[in-house]
Symmetry: C2
Subunit: 150 residues, 2 copies
């Protein structure tokens, strides 16, 4: 996607509401697990078996642009999407990739600390916590007690 679109000219689109877009939005709104495009594709496919992955990508992009959903660009290899468009942070399991909301309020003031100290114009920040989900914690402590003979 053209990441600079809104900054440069913001070509105005007249968006249409297609059945595909509608179902994609509905499905994302049902999912609390910060799904990837592929997971959304699989969910939507149950309703619209003929939809293509490309259409899902295009619509997720448009829906984020419209502010209907939020595209999460975490330090993961895949992008995830969130029905909750409010600013909030996330915590990601380093082992299985599970993403939860981080129970901590956004800190806009972090950006102020840079003011005057950098030549950049600050536009925002991203904060992501890394950790282990309970399931993976458990698995790892088992491993530690019974190391695979190697």
């Amino acid at each position: 996607m053209d990441e600079h679109r809104d900054i440069t000219l913001a070509k105005k689109h007249i968006y249409r509401m297609t059945p595909q877009r509608k179902v994609i939005l509905e499905e994302v709104r049902k999912m609390n697990n910060h799904p990837s495009a592929d997971e959304i594709y699989e969910a939507v496919r149950k309703k619209l078996p003929r939809i293509s992955l490309g259409t899902v990508y295009r619509n997720l992009e448009i829906l984020s642009e419209q502010g209907e959903i939020q595209k999460l660009e975490l330090t993961d290899s895949v992008n995830r999407y969130d029905w909750d468009t409010r600013k909030h942070y996330h915590i990601r399991c380093v082992r299985c990739g599970r993403v939860d909301n981080a129970p901590i309020a956004p800190m806009q003031q972090l950006e102020n600390e840079l003011y005057g100290a950098t030549v950049f114009t600050i536009l925002g920040h991203r904060l992501e916590f890394i950790g282990l989900c309970p399931e993976c914690s458990k698995k790892l402590s088992c491993l530690k007690n019974n190391p695979p003979d190697k």
Copy 2:
């Protein structure tokens, strides 16, 4: 890369110092611009024209593992590498991708705020500032004053 390696078993390697590894490390240490693997490849190629990109990737991985360099996993499409292995944050230009250090001290205490409020075991956090570098700022303000006829 196996992101879990250090967590699970950490198979012990006896690393060797090859000419390739040596040059890669030297080159990274010369670069202050948080280079991507490909940029490092291009720099190293001037010294070792026959080196392959795969070798560069493998060595960057090993060097990070050894703590000789730091792999930066920013919210970018490419990974970047840093000779400076100390904990520090970065600021990235949303338009051209330039990465600078962020003049702000690491805040370990952020993680404490989550303690007890999440089911995750916190291992760390990543903070990245998003902005516009001076060059891109300039270009954009020009654009605003002289919008491309469209």
